[in-house]
Symmetry: C2
Subunit: 516 residues, 2 copies
Amino acid sequence: MNGAQALLRTLVSAGVDVCFANPGTSEMHFVAALDDVPRMRGVLTLFEGVATGAADGYARMAGRPAATLLHLGPGLANGLANLHNARRGHAPVLNVVGDHARSHKRLDAPLESDVDALAGAVSGWVRRSMSPADVAADAAEAVAQATRVGVATLVLPADVSWEDGAAPADPVPVRPAPQVPSSVVADVAAVLASGEPAVLLLGGEVVACEAGLLAAGRVAAGTGARLLAETFPARMVRGAGLPDLAKLPYPPEVALAALSGTRHLVLAGASAPVHFFAYPGVPGTPVPEDCAVHVLAATGEDGVAAVQALAELAAPGARPALLEPARPQLPSGELTPRRVSAVLGALMPERAVVVDEVITSGVGLAELTAGAPRHDWLALTGGAIGDGLPMAVGAAVACPDRPVLALQADGSAMYTLQALWTMAREQLDVTVVVYDNGSYAILQGELSRVGASAGGERAGQLLDLGGPALDFVALAGGMGVPATRATTAEELADQLRAAFAEPGPHLVHAVLPGRR
Amino acid sequence: MNGAQALLRTLVSAGVDVCFANPGTSEMHFVAALDDVPRMRGVLTLFEGVATGAADGYARMAGRPAATLLHLGPGLANGLANLHNARRGHAPVLNVVGDHARSHKRLDAPLESDVDALAGAVSGWVRRSMSPADVAADAAEAVAQATRVGVATLVLPADVSWEDGAAPADPVPVRPAPQVPSSVVADVAAVLASGEPAVLLLGGEVVACEAGLLAAGRVAAGTGARLLAETFPARMVRGAGLPDLAKLPYPPEVALAALSGTRHLVLAGASAPVHFFAYPGVPGTPVPEDCAVHVLAATGEDGVAAVQALAELAAPGARPALLEPARPQLPSGELTPRRVSAVLGALMPERAVVVDEVITSGVGLAELTAGAPRHDWLALTGGAIGDGLPMAVGAAVACPDRPVLALQADGSAMYTLQALWTMAREQLDVTVVVYDNGSYAILQGELSRVGASAGGERAGQLLDLGGPALDFVALAGGMGVPATRATTAEELADQLRAAFAEPGPHLVHAVLPGRR
């Protein structure tokens, strides 16, 4: 058995049975081994950023890592931005990066580069497999490390793949997340009993499951503490029957207002909030100076159990306030961002997985979908735009029985638009809505927010996506995804109904005022 | 004057007056300063790999660096693959990578990442600018370093851009390339005088200018040495009136045959050849074991002068064999790769800049274009596919009075297809020919070359670009580039004539047998 065959067998027996791939010559034995190990599903992507973003979306929904298969340093480089997002969202991803054969490294061939430095910049664990006898154990360790640390990268020399003498390895056990000490829970309960204004900032697993949200809702009902979610949760379960959980807003002035007057900020699975960017004359965080920060559960600890224990202690018998089922009326007239949100709130299918890379166009989106049927919401965790469409690929592979709704801004869509092709090839049930306002609208706001003079024509050209305007119907069609264009709320509703009713991918190009 | 304004003024006075940009919030003051420094041309790209590849193509044709403007670690990451290509081709590129304000670094905001590690992996020089008072001097040094070492990266904190107290700096002088000692030239002349079979392997500047090629032609005529070019020259001048210079072939078995029997390999601006990849049972280089390797001019030395000196010494009075003007007959019938080559050879316009990312489909391409009018040929230097269309952008910006012909394989086109939008926005005179064989054809060959079993259906799926087939006419149209489809040689000829006759970008989707 060669190294690649042993590697694949080890991965599938450790539960990694999907590989998002963009292979090259050094990965050919891995590719050939797919026919020997049919339990591994190979999913071809046309660009590595699609592969890594798909692995991110897959991990968020499946709760376990997929593999990526990348081609040497440049292939890994093309996937780094979405690995950054995965890292920031603590999503487990296992990269297999092919490299030159061991004998070839010293020759400095054209594709030679510092793979290890690139891998180290984004991975919590990196190993270079040194022989066919080691590769299976390396792979088993890589799966365990991905589960522990998020992004794990195994560098796989071509000859380690092709040489014989390998054998599969057993999975490496992974311990469950450590429990939060009861003394910490008691301290937080005492803080909340003080009656001073308090906010529970929820993130990570706490917002990804109903148990976490319901326990947090009990704490809020019993203590008067307010609930907020971190600004960009990797996965948040939402909808009717759950507590109404707003996110800490992105714009610094709004975030400052949201926490104004708060004397105690209790972190449960979330990090202490900081502004996304620095702005001249603005403090770096929205936490008031006289607000004490308490860590109930840090990343990696069992935050759900901690919030449940807090509810038992601080709010015994309290009943959480829960959202009633509610959908907005279908709007009519020319599309605006808010009308798009209303149409989505009115029509969102049951058990949807929503991938949100709307950036500035999500006006009213949280409010108008809050009472929709239960759904999961995946946000852009690391700010590296171009994760939305790839994550939709991965979420759809992880959840073949659920509809995926990818809400995608125009500018960020163009980073990894190749994801559409994989949606078509795999016939994934994804409905993409591209919000086209004809610009990098967020930057138009940021230009003035950072205090830069906003009036210049030449500066404006660098934020404008017109001239030529992008035709997303043509772009989708060119990659095999049926697409339509909506300029009114009625058209959007009709097109979404049709897309939801038919399996496979669809794209709706929603034309907003900035584009018209 | 703020840091960004001083930076831009310093760049333009050092000769860097084009910036390929994909900015974000941290770069807003740089963007705003474009209105203060109109000599700097900002060119917007929709993806960072387009910006860096454009800078690569620009540098190869202009002989001086353009700037890129990239957004923090993830923006740099998206540009790394084409920076790898620039580095391998010794093309000067100056990256300006915006980063968080100095005060914000410790807060570990979502976009925080190890920018310096990413920059170091691909740059010959990296500096983080620490204050507005330093930024202009940093920029002047960065331009000089790019000229010396190739890829240079300046990390620019947002507040260094926005704070006042900066002033422009003077350019830093750069010494010319060092001369090769005359003793080295004499040693090589003595080797060639032995009469033993010798090959001059030419690369770098030697193949980029007529003087280098003509001198090499004299050496060959006077000594009997054979001439070969490196496999992937950054820029090669070709056509009627120049020596016929074949490239060392890519496939290992063909490269071995090309150097078989050679006793002396003289390197002039080229590195010692190695195979692109290792293959089981194949030595790592095509250089015969009994062949001595002599370095006439290393990278960074003045190779043109060295070859000229060698011609004076070893071949006084010799006249080089030069290619007569010759164009193939226009072929007819269904398109094949060879017929595409013949149509190109027949119709290639005067003074074309050819960007070659054809990969496997360039059958007969070198032979059938050898006698065409004088042109420049840019190859993929580092093997990171997705440099072709971006390089065409950069070459067209560098040479607005010359037609650019981008010969682009289908699979690699999809990595950085967003380049088409910039061609349309800037109305660049680029004619793109997409060779569509419906597969990663090179990998189908490599799969068997590395000894992997080639028959598996699941492996084959990962090398196949059908299901759905890509429609490059739709994709180009979606980004504002007029496009047509050719399935016969006659159609291709008609469409190319029309494209060459009209300014601005055009795309021809050449449908090859694998796709039909």
